[in-house]
């Protein structure tokens, strides 16, 4: 097969994919959630998704298959979001995003002056966490804990754990130093862990549902 033929085959295959409404609707929904999470604004998210999709469809002839196309569409979307965030930072007060975190802030309730767990904050054993994943009520608690994170913490945590960006990508997108990112992720995890433990493992919501 000549390379020209294989290019044509790819183009045909991709136009099939792009006329597949279900595939497109799926990917649009995923993109929208991804963008809304990061931009914190559904209108800006719609715009970013729109632009990314248009850009992707224009150049969609050179991709071999759905997985490659999807990866590529998300790469474009990531850039659109980065653009939006950059604009936002220029427009809004940048100081809160750029400020180096005070490392001792809000740790004093968890750790004593010497840096050891306060007795009633010391993490307990959770048993088998996989059992919780099957319980509907658990997910309400989990979601409430996520939503309880301050927006800045929630954003970096989601970029890291939901979307799976690595540390360098996050630092570049939201303009943080590596050290600053480590502090924010550490703090997100401390808070999320504490919330899940208090609201699920200690408060007996699990028991309430069983009985």
């Amino acid at each position: 097969m000549t390379s020209n033929q294989s290019l044509n085959d790819n183009a045909e295959q991709n136009s099939d994919i792009l006329s597949d409404g279900v595939f497109l609707e799926d990917i649009r929904r995923q993109m929208l959630r991804f963008a809304t999470m990061q931009l914190g604004d559904s209108h800006q998210a719609e715009d970013a998704v729109q632009e990314a999709l248009i850009g992707a469809l224009k150049n969609a002839t050179s991709f071999g298959g759905r997985a490659a196309l999807k990866t590529w569409i998300f790469a474009i979307l990531k850039n659109k979001i980065a653009d939006s965030l950059r604009q936002k930072q220029r427009m809004v007060n940048t100081s809160s995003l750029l400020r180096e975190e005070d490392e001792d802030e809000d740790f004093s309730e968890l750790f004593d002056r010497n840096g050891f767990w306060r007795p009633d904050e010391r993490p307990i054993a959770w048993g088998n966490p996989e059992a919780s994943l099957r319980e509907g009520q658990f997910w309400k608690v989990f979601e409430a804990c996520l939503e309880g994170l301050p927006p800045k913490l929630a954003r970096v945590f989601m970029m890291r754990e939901f979307i799976g960006l690595d540390a360098d990508e996050i630092c570049a997108t939201v303009k943080l130093s590596t050290n600053n990112l480590h502090v924010l992720l550490h703090r997100s995890r401390l808070r999320l862990r504490e919330c899940i433990e208090n609201k699920w493992y200690l408060e007996g919501e699990r028991n309430a549902e069983v009985s």
Binding site: F111, W126, E161, A167, H186, R189, L192, E197
Partner: protein, 64 residues
């Protein structure tokens, strides 16, 4: 000796970067002695698991 505050930070950072030999060793020592941080380490794994399952659930419920 490592304190709990530092230990939790190292456990968090180990999810973004490889720890140095010294960091790994001091963390290991600390975890042998501290049940709270030992549990914390289990919880970090559990939270990753939960987060992935959460995203998957969201994807599925969005489709309905």
């Amino acid at each position: 000796m490592l304190k709990c505050h530092d230990a939790t930070r190292l456990m968090s950072e180990s999810q973004e970067r490889p720890l140095s030999t010294l960091e790994r060793m001091s963390l290991k020592m600390h975890l042998m002695m501290c049940s709270g941080c030992h549990n914390y380490r289990e919880h970090m794994g559990a939270i990753r698991l939960m987060t992935r399952a959460f995203v998957k659930r969201k994807d599925e419920s969005d489709k309905k």
